[in-house]
Symmetry: C2
Subunit: 233 residues, 2 copies
DNA sequence: GTCGGTCAGGTTGTATGCAATCTCATTATC
DNA sequence: GATAATGAGATTGCATACAACCTGACCGAC
């Protein structure tokens, strides 16, 4: 965290970058942002430095900050990291075991999602919001159960990517969401059964597939094969 | 990175924290540090914010920064993350394949280490420095070969831990170093053979064991079992 | 016409002053 | 004696002034 105003500016700036309000490579001038935010250069400078640390900006001495570009391979790399780290979280959660409260929350998100997705019609706004919230709770609960203080921050930096920020989520295609709901159910079962290895790899695959689906929705031309799967084999 | 002076101060402050020159929980006052560094509060404030982002300090609004304490379980958690991320790096390096130059560098570190460790006498300073440098090259080469821009930064935050910073390295016990040299050789072989899964798990285990060894050397009383292995099983 | 130098404008880097907040010892009250 | 209120000192938060640096246009030399 940062200072009262600087803290708020850092978050506002981050949201603007994630929302794509700046072009990749754009030079962010301190005075310009200061006027935009109605503050002085001092908190703006802190906000810029914070977002650089988060990987959203690039810094050059005496030249300032530019918006970092994110190409398809960067998004693929981010999902690789997410898959690896959330895999660790699932394994640790299975090994440590869930608290009754955590188990209840996970079961509830899975059941609620299944009910929301049971129909055939495209999802309305309420259903999409319900799914988004449940998805967040599912992953967050597992991450907390893993009880490793480095997991949360590490995940944030690979999740907060312009253009792929969770709210996008593969256009909420019901077919995909039903698939994910199935993943969640099996992952939850593995964790409850204390099967750490299965939980790890199911979670890894779950996140990896979600990344593939998002890349596919971004580049409908060439499938995800080129993007996410490595060159080898 | 940050600004010229602020950048340097950030690194100096980080090194001081890693070297244990502050007590855990100690309040770092801006004017005090500014006098120590011979600068004004402005770059000091940036350095503090940068080290907070790196997880070495904790911030409270209007109260400033205190040195973050690292307990045994934090060190164990950091090695868990390192094992998981370097495992990903090894797998990706195996899947993508090494460049001839990378393969040569890795082979060289392994062979040189084997030669340095061939004797029975405790290592002199030169030998220790040689091992440290080779170890760094070995891991760095694999990380670069993985070609995932999120791996490097993520590893830095879990490697830079007060009291466990690499230079310590389990007191350079030749028995341990020979074991690690064997790990390196097998990991290198797996990567060259494009065996990603084996490379991943050998690397995971390599880092995990190194963490165990360091925790053992820190708490000779209770073995690493309680610290690194989870509660389950 | 091309290359190098120079200067003005603009942008970042640092220092400092003032306001807001916190800390903690002292005092007043019950 | 314990607890709450108060106020002075110290510390952080922000704004602003000045210095250093970079950028790009203009000009002159070859």
């Amino acid at each position: 965290m940062t200072q009262p105003i600087a803290q708020a500016l850092s978050a506002r700036l981050r949201d603007m970058i994630l929302a794509g309000e700046f072009q990749a490579g754009q030079h962010l001038r301190e005075v310009q942002l200061a006027q935009l935010f109605g503050a002085s250069r001092t908190p703006v400078r802190l906000a810029l430095a914070a977002n650089e640390k988060d990987g959203l900006l690039e810094y050059s001495p005496n030249r300032g900050y530019v918006v970092r570009p994110f190409a398809g391979e960067d998004i693929a790399a981010a999902f690789e990291m997410r898959a690896q780290i959330e895999g660790l979280a699932a394994r640790k959660a299975a090994e440590r075991g869930l608290s009754p409260e955590a188990a209840r929350r996970i079961a509830e998100t899975i059941d609620t999602d299944a009910r929301v997705l049971s129909g055939d019609a495209p999802l309305d706004d309420g259903a999409r919001e319900a799914w988004r919230a449940n998805n967040a709770v599912f992953h967050k609960t597992i991450i907390e159960a893993a009880d490793n203080r480095f997991i949360g921050p590490a995940l944030q930096t690979v999740q907060r990517i312009p253009g792929v920020y969770p709210p996008v989520l593969a256009s909420y295609d019901p077919v995909l969401l039903r698939k994910y709901n199935g993943h969640h159910r099996r992952i939850g079962e593995c964790i409850l059964a204390r099967q750490g290895t299965r939980a790890e790899f199911l979670m890894r695959e779950h996140v990896f597939e979600a990344g593939e689906d998002i890349l596919t929705s971004l580049h409908p031309a060439h499938g995800p094969t080129q993007d996410l799967a490595g060159a080898a084999e």
